[in-house]
């Protein structure tokens, strides 16, 4: 496996988007099981996106038919598109990046493919070829817990979060919103920089999910362990897979699935977001093409049972995957509905900047193929501050119980907390 290999050169550093590892017998297979991965090695060109970056510039960058593009969009980019002033933050609004070499592969078949840019360094290509032909390398460096340099900071306390739930419910009663996703930011100061590659591999192997990513952007190293697809667009066929409705468990029991899918509250949570995502892809899909399939399906991830639906459409001929990515942004499952007013309320309720959290991490494999995750279960280390940050949140509705929503949020946050400081 390339991911566990030492870098081709000492100074090389790969950006990776990875599906789930090969399924294990003791873990229920994720029905969105994605076995493909992509690793970009040695950037040749990067475009840092700001709110003012013209769409044509991004389109040109993504239209290269020869080498894939890996990138991200921060939630704050979406705020600016909706004219909501982002609070002070130091996280870029977005990034597009092309590489000298890209390795693609499949964890199910073990097949690997190396794509090299025309101007790629021949030494790099040769060393990667040798590495890929060598077969299984050494096992990955073991992940070890970090040493904290201070206490874990939480942007909202238990009581503040629960008050946020109650305030949201007052907004719901007034007709301002149907559902609102309220999050907490966790900041852990570290004594030394973490081995983010080891952390990424530890989580990927032990807490599999279909949309993992490891990205490097200046002082930021991003580890995303998302279970949620925002958009897949392939030759005009659009798929979005909103997740809403959660049941945490300690011991897996098959009847728990029925407990979740028979809950009117959880079903309504998902239905609202399905209608919102239908709307968002309809901005760029052909009339009559938008369909909902497999409503209230379930999968298991992070010791949670989660419900999701498949929403399909056909892209209009006058639109590109980038058009839909930008027009539907940010993903509705992490804002709430209606989107504009709900985002305005979120901005008042959350004291923190979401930065990349609730944005998207994506790959363009040519201009007609896009796969994008919702950047949840995502954290990053900022070398400027020495802080590792992660987030968790929950979808709030009229019949939410504040204590339960807080417990769900903390259950989602445990993934990073347990890995970093068990």
């Amino acid at each position: 496996m390339l991911l566990s290999a030492p870098p081709a050169r000492a100074e090389s550093c790969a950006d990776v988007c990875a599906g789930s590892p090969a399924p294990r017998q003791d873990v229920p297979l994720h029905p969105m099981h994605e076995s493909e991965f992509m690793a970009g090695i040695e950037p040749v060109e990067s475009l840092h996106i700001t709110a003012a970056t013209p769409r044509e510039h991004m389109q040109r960058f993504c239209s290269n038919r020869h080498t894939p593009v890996i990138g991200y969009l921060s939630y704050t980019y979406g705020m600016e598109q909706y004219d909501i002033a982002a609070r002070e933050h130091s996280f870029p609004a977005g990034l597009l990046r092309r590489y000298q070499c890209v390795v693609t592969g499949c964890t199910r078949t073990g097949r690997l493919r190396l794509l090299a840019d025309r101007h790629a360094d021949s030494g790099l290509v040769d060393s990667l070829c040798r590495l890929l032909q060598a077969g299984s390398p050494e096992p990955p460096r073991p992940h070890t817990p970090v040493t904290a340099a201070g206490p874990l900071r939480q942007s909202l306390t238990r009581e503040e979060y629960q008050e946020g739930v109650r305030q949201t419910q007052r907004h719901i009663a007034a007709g301002d919103t149907y559902q609102l996703n309220l999050s907490i930011r966790f900041d852990l100061p570290l004594a030394t920089p973490p081995d983010t590659t080891a952390l990424f591999l530890h989580l990927w192997l032990n807490r599999p999910a279909p949309f993992y990513a490891l990205l490097h952007d200046g002082p930021l190293t991003i580890v995303s362990t998302s279970p949620e697809r925002y958009l897949r667009i392939s030759r005009g066929t659009v798929l979005t897979q909103p997740i809403k409705g959660t049941l945490a468990f300690d011991t897996w029991q098959p009847q728990l699935v029925h407990t979740l899918t028979s809950s009117p509250k959880e079903r309504a949570e998902l239905s609202m977001i399905v209608d919102l995502l239908r709307n968002d892809i309809s901005t760029r899909c052909r009339f009559g093409s938008v369909r909902v399939r497999d409503h209230c399906s379930t999968f298991v991830v992070d010791r949670l049972i989660q419900m999701y639906s498949n929403v399909h459409g056909i892209l209009r001929p006058d639109s590109t995957p980038l058009d839909l990515l930008l027009d539907a942004f940010p993903g509705g499952s992490v804002t709430g509905c209606p989107k504009l007013r709900t985002m305005q309320i979120i901005d008042r309720l959350e004291p923190h900047s979401r930065d990349l959290y609730c944005g998207s991490i994506f790959c363009f494999n040519g201009p007609d193929h896009l796969d994008a995750s919702v950047a949840i279960r995502t954290g990053w280390h900022d070398a400027r501050t020495g802080v590792f940050s992660w987030f968790a949140g929950s979808g709030l509705v009229t019949d939410s119980v504040p204590e339960n929503e807080y417990a769900e949020t903390m259950a989602k946050a445990r993934k990073f907390q347990e890995a970093l400081c068990p």
Partner: protein, 182 residues
């Protein structure tokens, strides 16, 4: 082809409604934000103005008076129906135990038909305005559809464009027949 103006109240279901209107009529609606409505003097150029759902109370949307007084056909959805109701003196109040993203049954009295619909609302028409006639209710009696007795105005409180509504195209065509457009 019908000329349809769809006024968007900053909602997140407006494009679903545009797709449903196209499915029901074959026409592509022109979507404008409600804040641009006054500047367009649109009613005279349209066969139909559709007022989208949206957040908040009808009092927040004062731009619709001229449209509702123009004599041109208007279809209001959710907030749009509440706007019609308030314009004619009806009241819109908080609904105890508001309903979002859930299916319900609506009995249409002007079509002898029972519908399965998707509901999204925190507010409801507590009293109906002068000249308005209720044409659909839930089994509990909540107002789910209404029309004006003499003006071409029709409203649905439920969301015909939701995937939870089984016969959205029928709902649009039924309203357009009532408005003498079809």
């Amino acid at each position: 082809m019908l000329r349809i103006l769809l006024s968007d109240n900053d909602d997140s279901f407006t494009m679903n409604l545009a797709h449903l209107l196209h499915a029901a009529t074959g026409s592509t609606p022109q979507v404008v934000n409600h804040t641009a409505l006054a500047a367009r003097a649109p009613a005279a150029e349209q066969d139909l103005v559709v007022i989208s759902p949206g957040p908040g109370h009808p009092d927040e949307y004062p731009c619709y008076g001229p449209v509702l007084q123009s004599g041109r056909p208007v279809l209001g959805i959710c907030l749009g129906m509440q706007i019609i109701n308030c314009h004619f003196g009806g009241t819109v109040k908080a609904l105890a135990g508001c309903v979002h993203g859930k299916s319900d049954t609506v009995v249409m009295t002007d079509a002898d038909k029972t519908l399965t619909v998707g509901r999204y609302h925190s507010l409801h028409c507590a009293t109906t305005g002068t000249g308005l006639q209720v044409t659909g209710r839930t089994p509990q009696g909540l107002v789910m559809a209404l029309r004006h007795n003499s003006l071409p105005l029709y409203g649905y409180q439920f969301h015909p464009e939701s995937f939870l509504t089984a016969e959205g195209v029928w709902c649009i065509r039924h309203a357009l027949r009532s408005l003498h457009i079809l």
